[in-house]
Assembly symmetry: C2
Homo-oligomer: 249 residues x 2
Amino acid sequence: MGEPVRIIGAYLSPYVRKVLVCLHLKGIDYEIDPIVPFMGDERFSQLSPLRRIPVLIDDRVTLSDSSVICQYIEDRYPQPALFPSDIVDRARARWLEEFADTRMGEVFIWRLFNEVAIKPFVWGQATDAAVLNKTLTDDIPHVLDYLESQLPAEGFLFGNVGIADIGIATFFRNAAFARFTVDPARWPRTAAFVGRVLSIPAFERLKPFEDKLIRTPPSQHRAALAALGAPLTQDTVGTDTPRRGLMQI
Amino acid sequence: MGEPVRIIGAYLSPYVRKVLVCLHLKGIDYEIDPIVPFMGDERFSQLSPLRRIPVLIDDRVTLSDSSVICQYIEDRYPQPALFPSDIVDRARARWLEEFADTRMGEVFIWRLFNEVAIKPFVWGQATDAAVLNKTLTDDIPHVLDYLESQLPAEGFLFGNVGIADIGIATFFRNAAFARFTVDPARWPRTAAFVGRVLSIPAFERLKPFEDKLIRTPPSQHRAALAALGAPLTQDTVGTDTPRRGLMQI
């Protein structure tokens, strides 16, 4: 396999986490350059034209967009399969991953996590209480109602754990950072499903890094991760100066 | 194959056009329920949880999201292949389709086409001259600079015409509706590429419908399309009352 896979992107990103969990499940070694997406230099702009994380770099290709990366990982390393073999199940898995990436991304990241974490800690701005309230009372329940209609009472969506389970569950780690947990009385399937998926070892092994970083300023992320033994790259495309990316709010 | 494939979605949508072109290239018959995305009823909300078009319905599955639909069409009807067989080329094709869907969608649809067409004709609102000006002088050139670095001098991106060519070119039909064309002196590869892709028969056969609809109020779309012999469904999930969808601006 030659050089290890290199991932650029923050452990706290749900999209980066999705890719790392897929790599864990496939047994693929990687190094990580744990940059905050707002804090990439000009090389990062070249590698990721939309200034999005994660970026995957290996001996053959440089890719951004977590869905494209996960599909590439599946194509290059087919076992164990993370996409269903049945054509209809595969389409449904892709749809659920897309629903998570766009709608759950909008609600859990750009509204909830942004209001309680990114705005105050990255940009030094106050939380907008009206946005936060609408998110908690309207947008999140709407998403959870839909998930409750789709998720299985037991096990995973399509047999073994796969891309749709991972793509949905990853957002609930960020929700937890914002102190949101699913009410098991109102959404019992979703609450149990999230618990099952997040407790697989491929998610669990990321928790020590995440739990440390959520309490650490971005400028100290590398040092904190090194102390925990994270598989860091030698060099970085990160800077200390936040800038707004094209696709960021 | 049983029932024909059913597509819900407007001929003027770049995402619907992408799916229809794929169906044409695969030689798959379809019927279309040509609703404007803002004008779907409650059944539409059930079929498309994000109230997005297109929706594909066949004898096996109901799907939304154009990328998910195109991949399903490829999986179910593999010939002629619209995704590259090489793993790296396939990943790059998916990335370019994703770039088009998100960044070109944002710039060409939600800024350019929205300002000059959707706002005045659907919502009865004035065009925002400042947004339009920034779109034309800043956002669009940035997108075109990137495409110019990626597109081939001749032919298509990965051999025969495929998903990445289609996914990029479809946005330039909408750009043309907004009277924008690519300056061939500044972006020669892009201008020539767009001309090549849009002139394949799979795009050309949609032009009469599009050219008619761009001059027709939404309430008269069905009648206008029937007069042109479009393959319309009998029933519709459309209504006459626009409402804002979750994912719409």
